[in-house]
Amino acid sequence: MSLYERILAGDIRAAARLMRNIDDNLPSSRSDLQELFPHTGGAFLIGVTGPPGAGKSTLVDQITAAYRKRGKRVGVVAIDPTSPFTGGAILGDRIRMNRHADDEGVFIRSLATRGHMGGLSRSTADVANVMDAMGMDVVIIETVGVGQDEVDIVRLAHTTLVVMVPGMGDDIQAIKAGILEIGDLFVVNKADRDGADRTARELSMMLEMNKYAEGAWRPPVLKTEAQRNVGVDELVESMENHRQWLVNSGEINLLLKEKNAALFQTLLKERLFAEVYGRIEEDGRFGEILDGMLSRRQDPYSAVEQILAERLKS
């Protein structure tokens, strides 16, 4: 049986292996994904972003527990950075989620960025699709949380949570980084610490300066203590409200269109590049172009035009 058949039959090891094949960019993973695609679209995708140490993983653990209590199956994708020097990575988000490890209704996968920018790994959307096809009702995606421009998550998740901590609201960086635009919900975690109310107030004030159309979603600001599970039920309630709003307002159609466009464009870009570049690297053309550029006989602009013209004709 191929991987996708085993996955649809509920085989956990097959799912884990396909995720690895996807991450390693094995050509066979694409045919499995093809077959799984019709079985996706059922899961509610939640993005969780925010700076390192804000409590994202702890919050994901609590959200997972809350959905389990509601009888939902939960997938988690947690992304951590790859070391640019060694290519290795330490993926430590599971530390906060260990209690769910042997719950059959939960599947957690740690991914390394492998040089990909934007807060997710190249594989994240596909891995989330595998979880969706496995029948997960909810898939929670925790971004790296280091970047200034973690915008990719917005085009992947239905609902995006921005997690902050007391003291961050008055930080002008938050505005610069565009963080106010990407959240559907804002969470001031570590509300046990001083200044949580102030941060929440300032965040609300800044959000009110955004322009909202009639009937538009107005991102709420919530306070949580992930460690002690305070405010998590309210948070889940609020996420469900957002989901409901997406459906009721018809916004979901726009979102899905954007989501699908992003998936398709990324795939096309990647495949075209791999195809064309792979060819010219193999047949020596790439080496010739580099030599030509070194002696200034060849400029890169016309070289690219020429290769495109040749490839598009054939």
Binding site: I12, G87, G88, A89, I90, L91, N98, A101, F107
Partner: protein, 133 residues
């Protein structure tokens, strides 16, 4: 364009609260280019095995100091067998009496590193032991 990335789970079963050894091992494997799934302290064998399967790792490295190695480590191997995942290589490191090592190996622990072993040695052993996918 595709290349297999090696993945290892590093964790610490048992009740004692000291993860220095596990952290050093995790660092060493990261520096050797591995993706290290670090699960921290107080893991039950069930949690370790489920995590290893979900993460599709090649290898499990367990740091143990608690003296409970004779029960916890064979349990990990048994669970892997039960879930038909016994090709995942398991090794351990820690203060383990010489006399216990044959029993652990018979239970399925592929190697036991006592405190004298260097991280380089451990990484080299793992690289030469795990089967290619």
């Amino acid at each position: 364009m595709s290349e297999r990335k090696l993945r290892i789970l590093v964790g610490k079963p048992g009740l004692d609260g000291h993860d220095r050894g596990a952290k050093i091992i995790a660092r060493a494997f990261r520096d050797a280019g591995f993706e290290v799934i670090y699960t921290g302290l107080h893991q039950t064998p069930d949690q370790i095995v489920s995590a290893a399967i979900q993460e599709d790792v090649d290898c499990i490295g367990l740091s143990i100091l608690s003296g409970a190695h004779n029960t916890l480590l064979p349990k990990v191997c048994d669970l892997l067998k039960e879930k038909k995942a016994e090709e995942i290589v398991v090794f351990c490191g820690g203060v383990i009496p010489e006399d216990d090592i044959p029993g652990l190996k018979a239970a399925g622990i592929r190697e036991v590193f006592t405190p004298g072993a260097s991280t380089d040695q451990i990484v080299a052993w793992v690289k030469s032991t795990i089967a290619p996918l």
